[in-house]
Amino acid sequence: MDFNLSEEQVAIQDTLRRWLAKEYGFEQRRAIAKSADGFSRDAWARYAGLGLLMLPLPEADGGLGGNAVDTMVVLETLGASLALEPYLSTVVVAGSLVTDLGVGALRNELLGGIASGALLATLAHLEPGVRYNRQCVATTARREGDVHLLSGHKAVVLGAPSANQLIVSARTSGVANDAAGITLFVVDPCAEGVTIAGYANQDAQRAGEVKLSNVKVGAEAMLGPMDGALPAIERAIDRGIAGLCAEAVGIMAALNAATLEYLRQRKQFGVHIGSFQALQHRMVDMVLATEQSRSLAMLAAIKADSEDPAERSRAVSAAKAYIGQALRQVGQEAVQMHGGMGVTDELMAAHCFKRLTMIDATFGNADHHLARFSDTLLVS
């Protein structure tokens, strides 16, 4: 039993943290958020240079063979600076899918592209009308000779506006809520019949509604087995959730530090407001909630790679359910303690609060994961 990071992980953390401190300050981030892409291509190239993009990919594919604990370190560190690059959607989620399912030329092309930074990929899976239900796929893939024709609507696809490849789930058999019958296709966003209505999210990250109308894809674009993609999708999203939990912990720790600093320097009634017990105890509660969140984010990271889906999803949902509540507490309290400044656009605190809140709403919120965890109690 060892709760410490390895030397390599500490080195990654230090290097990335130093670079972000220099190149990703509050004002720099603000400019990046307003840019056309909504993230920094320079930063992406830097991450590639540091090996972060190939970190979790298998060594046989030119990656570094890292695990979810490694990506936890990266995302926690990126989170502390509220970095806007699509690391989660491309490296963690899409990377997981291609690693688990990809073969041959398609695998080489996608993993090579992700590792080098040349390729931005994202999973287009969840659909309107079913919230966070991962199994309900109404998008159809109709076979016509050697090709499939994809039609449907994918909701709030992370990083969609900049993606070079979409990994689209579609139903090749069965009805909407069947576990079997889901197949993944790699779709060029520029292909005929694909429209992406892109937008900025509340947290300044980018996403989009992906609509497909008789989009023609060949057999070579099928990722993984026909009708059997759901287990890999579940695993990829669970890994994404473990990553989100790590990111949230990084943000909560940064937000606590900012709030603590504010309590120490802000004076009212002739004293530092941190001398008020009414605020001290709530600050302690925020620190305790963050510490407990960190424990569960570690558990989620360790179990995210597990071959046992029940063990994996139980840990991941426990973490997401707990952190969904903790981030609300930490975010709301931080804003409250910053007073009027907390509700302006001028401080990092407000931006942390917004990103934290959106993390809860991504891949299943606290209620969704509490239910997912809670239902495992029926089986046991």
């Binding site: 604990v69 001290q280 105890h281 424990s295 360790i302 239910a371 109690l377």
Partner: protein, 406 residues
């Protein structure tokens, strides 16, 4: 980073489990399994059994007859004991006064007191709190005045201690007493070991809200205490008392007992009916509350292990103990609350006789087993956990000052 126990640690767990299976007396095991109350004699008997095995104290150094286990091994031992339903080892002698005697006592005191604590021959209680000194412990007023008589140097102690847990069974009490009034209140406090049979000591029960006699008032009326029973220097008692704070990190969160309690809660929710007659566990609203508790406990288990591993690496305890106390006590309370609520209407009957070891009466209802008679009382009783040993508010003050620098 990995969360796996080493093969050696797993082997140790097996060894503990086997020992407990063989050594926990059948009558205690049966009482525990049926939810009957353990009695004071069980505690002493169990301590003697552990001592016979050489496991009298998991936290003492080998030199004093302890096992010399590291913090992870102590954690494993605690978990297995909780799972087997053994009596708790009383902390007052083993974990509270003994470390102070080891660190600050003289050789005569070590030789006189430590072996008897380990062997379960002495029952210690704690004389810290007073009616006017709770969270503000340093304001304590029980006076000790030094003098000399035919039998030698001694202190004459006058005053009142309170919340003395299980003091009715104790033959020794360790006390903080005031020997000086100069300077800060912390500076005039002395640490005395007092024989409960000394003339002038009166113990009066305080009955808890669940009807239990668990704590006491202890009065001292011209109680003569030999100077030999003073630990360390006069007026330095506060330092010794503070040393205890944060001395023992494993165990404070009660994770082992709470994990065992969670198992019982789940089993109770499977036995008890919901409104539709199906098992209560199928009621999503109640199940979600169990789920929330379990998630909190999963987090606490890891947080606890992080701190425990720090202990093995000899890093300072700091305010981590305060963190574990706050989180652990909240989990214990929530667990007790859900146990009570799982009973639905059968939370109401108060029939403490059903918990007695010799109860042979007729059951009130199929939905009210003898063990269930204790759940509501436990809920009421366990409100104490966020109050005793430094209330949650005091713990938060400590964290705010020590970690946050506020």
């Amino acid at each position: 980073m990995n969360f796996e126990y080493t093969p050696e640690q797993q082997a140790f767990r097996t060894e503990v489990r086997q020992f407990l299976a063989e050594s926990l007396p059948v009558d205690m095991r049966e009482r525990q399994a049926s939810g009957k109350r353990l009695v004071a004699a069980d505690i002493t008997r169990w301590q003697k059994i552990l001592h016979g095995k050489g496991w009298g104290s998991g936290s003492w150094p080998v030199a004093y007859g302890g096992t010399g286990w590291n913090a992870v091994e102590r954690h494993i031992f605690d978990e297995e004991c909780a799972d087997a339903g053994t009596p708790l080892q009383l902390p007052f002698g083993l974990k509270m006064v003994a470390p102070v005697i080891m660190k600050f006592g003289n050789e005569a005191q070590k030789a006189r007191f430590l072996p008897r604590i380990l062997a379960g021959e002495d029952w210690w209680c704690q004389g810290y709190s007073e009616p006017g000194a709770g969270s503000d412990l340093a304001s304590l007023k029980t006076r000790a005045v030094q003098g000399t008589d035919a039998e030698g140097e001694h202190y004459i102690v006058n005053g009142q201690k309170t919340w003395t847990t299980l003091g009715q069974h104790a033959n020794w009490i360790f006390c903080l007493v005031r020997t000086g009034t100069e300077g800060r209140p912390q500076e005039g406090i002395t640490f005395l070991l007092i024989d409960m049979k000394t003339p002038g000591i009166t113990v009066r029960p305080i009955i808890m809200l669940d009807g239990e006699h668990e704590v006491n008032d202890v009065w001292f009326d011209n109680v003569r205490v030999p100077v030999d029973n003073r630990v360390g220097d006069e007026n330095k008692g506060w330092t010794y008392a503070k040393f205890l704070l944060g001395h023992e990190r494993s165990g404070i969160s009660g994770v082992g007992r709470s994990k065992a309690g969670l198992k019982q809660l789940k089993s109770l929710a499977c036995r008890q009916p919901g409104d539709n007659g199906r098992p209560l566990i199928e009621d999503a609203r109640f199940r979600d509350r169990i789920a929330r508790l379990e998630i909190e406990l999963m987090a606490l288990e890891i947080t606890n292990l992080k701190v425990i591993l720090n202990e093995d690496r000899h890093l300072p305890a700091g305010p981590e103990v305060s963190m574990l106390k706050i989180l652990g006590s909240e989990v214990q309370q929530l667990l007790a609350e859900l146990m009570m609520q799982a009973l639905g209407p059968y939370a109401l009957p108060s029939v403490p006789d059903m918990l007695m070891p010799d109860w042979q009466g007729e059951r009130l209802s199929v939905n009210f087993e003898p063990r269930d008679a204790g759940h509501a009382g436990a809920y009421f009783n366990l409100r104490k956990t966020t109050i005793y040993g430094g209330s949650s508010e005091v713990q938060k003050n400590i964290i705010a000052q020590m970690i946050l620098g506020l």
